[in-house]
Symmetry: C2
Subunit: 84 residues, 2 copies
């Protein structure tokens, strides 16, 4: 068994409004950071896992995203895995 670290990003779907991101954009404008636009706020999930190989590690994280971490009605996910 090998140990892997995974970094998962779960973001609101691009077609959907992101009220939290919009609120952050407005707040940034008020503190003279109007150069920043199009803020979108999602989740970043860091995790460790044990797997036989890279392919199994990838499958496990994908399964975790599909079954628990990501709500596909409102969110999409991407992740990277590296051995540690």
């Amino acid at each position: 068994m090998n140990l892997y670290a995974a970094s998962v990003r779960i973001m609101p779907l691009k077609a959907l409004l992101d009220p939290q991101g919009k609120a952050v954009t407005h707040s940034l404008q008020k503190i003279n950071l109007a150069a920043i636009s199009d803020v979108r706020v999602g989740k970043h999930i860091a995790l460790e896992l044990q797997a036989e190989n890279d392919i199994q590690a990838h499958q496990l994280v994908d399964e975790a995203c599909k079954k628990l971490l990501c709500n596909p009605i409102m969110e999409f996910y991407e992740f990277e895995i590296k051995p540690i």
Copy 2:
């Protein structure tokens, strides 16, 4: 002015407990994904910004993190910037 995309990760400090991450770890064990451990849940913020150059872009995102996005008592931040 150039356009940049920034990807900011804001995570709970490693020295602090992360109850949300702990809850996710337990839930994963219940759905036969016990190979996954040490889950930590933070925020991922994607944004776009206009800046003269890479250095100014870096400064602007750093300022946004310090002034608004990150609470240094409980969180730390890292980010990457790339031109778009």
